[in-house]
Amino acid sequence: MNAGSVGTGVPRVGGRERVNGSQQFLADIRLEDMLHVKLVTLDVACARIDSIDTSIAVHLPGVACIVTPADLPQPMPRFGPVYRDRPFLADGATTYHGEPVCAVVAESRDMAEAAAEAVLVGYTEVPGVFTIDAALAQDAPLVQSPSLRPDDPLARSNVLRERRYEWGAIDETDTTVVDHVYSFPMVTHFAIEPHGAIAHADDDGLTIWSPVQHPYLLQRTISDLFEQPLARVRVLAPDPGGAFGGKQNPKFEPLLTWIALKTGRPCRLILTLEETFQAVRRTSCSIHVRSGFRANGELVFHDVESDFLVGAYADIAERVVAKANYLACGPYRTPNARIVARAIFSNTTPSCAFRGFGTPQVAWAIESQMDAASRLLQLDGLEIRRANLARFGEDVVPGDVPADGEWQQSLDRAAEMIGWGRPPLEGRGRGIAVAIKAGATTGLSQATVRLLFDGSVIVYAGTSDMGQGARTIFAQIAADEFGVTVNDVSVVSGDTAIVPFDLQTSASRSTVFMGNAILAACEDVHRQLRSLAAEITGLEAADVEIKGGQVHVKGEQHSIATVLERGLGRLRGELVGNGTVRRADDPDHPLGGAPAFYEFNCTAFEVSVDGETGEVLIHRHVTVGDVGRALNPLQVTMQDEGAAIMGLGHSLMEQLLLDDRGRIRNLGALDYRIPTTKDMPLELESEVIENGDGPGPRGSKGVSEGAILCTAPALAAAVADATGVVIRDLPLTPERVWSALKAGVAR
């Protein structure tokens, strides 16, 4: 037997294919007779569509057909993960820049592109709302028709939903009050693999290839829209080439399916990167916080008004707003709070999940408030956090799941790693911040494990491996249960026709939810193994124990393969086990269920700022995550470092810029910068705290989002420490920092 792979950094399953170029991503799939789809869009945000003239385009070489809204069922079908508000194509009017008006279907991508340019769309630009203020103005045009929300009292406004969370009572007596407004920009996911899908309809039913995070939600969506039994809708989900929340929910798959049904041929749509920018983004926001502290730094209250600008369709954005703001006050003992959070529609790219799910936005505001208070009270950033951080078992939101980790250990370790307390070199400054994100609140993951005759194992798990390395963790878990190496385990995912149900790949849930489901399936196989061993030996199953991948029978130890060989006999066969983890809805909980765990992170920086250019130089960037148990320490570090670098993007350089007509001005890689090797901190260190206090296998918790949660406030605090200049709007571009420095000098 091996020593066990859990807890070791076994290299990524699927790694070989990724380094030799043979990994098959969506765009690498070639099907016989495949048609190519190009969406026709307008360089305008809001327009009434007066006419669509396809007469020239449809006769161009290779054009199979052009699908306009008039071809689709009326009223146009709509879909969405919560609100069914997204139409297949712009329904009479475009409601954001890049919303597709019609679709050209041709024999090649070139031909489809050429024909798309020949489609003549007559339109009249109409006013839209692109900012929070504009969307909330008295006479603001409505982004969505009230008929889409028939029983909603807010339907005649652009407010999709308002959430209120409140506990204690806000009393400013004897408190020092800090009161500021913070803004967080629109940023885009920029997965290096652009979005896309392939659909095909034949006698076996509908097949959709899409690198989605939630294959089973896509299956259900297609099943509902096309009135097909689930069994006749097969979703094949190639591993996404990066997703980060952007590939959770269906976007163009329903339209493609409709085209596939119409043409009888496989139809493929691959968006350009520019089109991908117009398909998904992070929710931008403005957060006004009034906070009260005692002179010793004790937090008394936060009064939060949080306005999140979501796009023209709801997607999952309201959930982002609800979930992030529920924990807006962060990992602290907050005795009194009032949080009012609004999801506000606008004529912009529909915002959706993006790593951190709204927490980077709220943490930007609340953590910056902690620093504002510390400066007023002449404490330091570490002291004020130490004074208020919830200890294990203490409430964060009273009555809900209490602090589930020794969070102060992460805080102290990060402080140590950044050299807190030792004077920094001349011109340098330090900042530190903490954050928690709620893990999944509900969920259902099912797994099947087959123990084959020779002792090797196949795991069926519907989690999408989008870079987080889910397959590796699953293989490790199963390998240890059966005393084999990771190379003796294969993990099958990405096919709803073969692999049992998994609700979704999101919220850093998979190690905990699917991990436990796999453990349960392994236990199911163990039960069968015990019976088999009992049969062979003539003993009771209760006399058999399976430990460390070995079968123990009254002091004697047998390998699993031996038991299988003797027990299954000449006809061979295998043992099949199933496992289910269900976290049911709790209708009384504001989020529909309590968080299964909290993802806690502490981030700290040491920086200097170039006074001539405003450029921030990061000397050291450290993160510490409270992970419960690192099942694969290498992968955990990879996730933390990656999240940290991604966090530098929205902290320092990334923002989608709109013109006053709502058009994105920096579409694409030339004008929208994400971090490169040259933006790397001079030193980047990531560590974990392991107390085995999580609900997942071996006491693990989810980890993939932690290090992006409080990058921005820690960085801004370090910039403030280095320069004395406090900035409350992201990103901290050289221009913004330089301007602030100049203003500071002038003052």
Partner: protein, 157 residues
């Protein structure tokens, strides 16, 4: 038709003749006509590096080079940098150092890194950083990529 031209591409040591449309990017010909899908398309404007290949030993964004420009030149893709069933030392090092997350940028990244090592077997840390700066990785795996390259540099004589 005047918009087509006959070209000879030498790809990974094998010669192929094509009658190509003059506006077709090399990337498209590699991926669609030769089935060499290791080079990826992301930005299509030469910024992300996912489509990086070697042309006459130099790194090129194959989304920006036309197939006709590659006529009679030696092209090496990620498939050509992979020695048969095994992996190159660089590929092994990427895996061992945990440099691979989603993997979409990796073929281009490895081509760039291999070019760097071939032209400068003992690069400094900042030369490695510079050498990979044209390849975007949204998973943010840069630190491990830099280490993976550093680990197989030849010590300075």
């Amino acid at each position: 038709m005047s918009s087509r031209r006959l070209v000879t591409l030498s790809v990974n040591g094998r010669e192929h003749e094509f009658d190509v449309l003059v506006h077709r990017p090399l990337l498209e010909v590699l991926r669609e006509d030769l089935g060499l899908t290791g080079a990826k398309e992301c930005c299509a404007v030469g910024e992300c590096g996912a489509c990086t290949v070697l042309v006459d030993g130099l790194t090129v964004n194959s989304c920006l080079m036309l197939a006709v420009e590659a006529d009679n030149r030696q092209i090496t893709t990620i498939e050509g940098l992979t020695p048969g069933e095994s992996l190159s030392p660089l590929q092994d090092s990427f895996l061992a150092h945990g440099a691979v997350q989603c993997g979409f940028c990796i073929p281009g990244m490895i081509v760039s890194a291999q070019f760097l090592l071939d032209s400068n077997p003992s690069p400094t840390a900042s030369e490695i950083n510079e050498g990979l700066a044209g390849n975007l990785c949204r998973c943010g795996g840069y630190k491990r990529m830099l280490r993976a390259v550093e680990a197989i540099t030849e010590p300075e004589a």
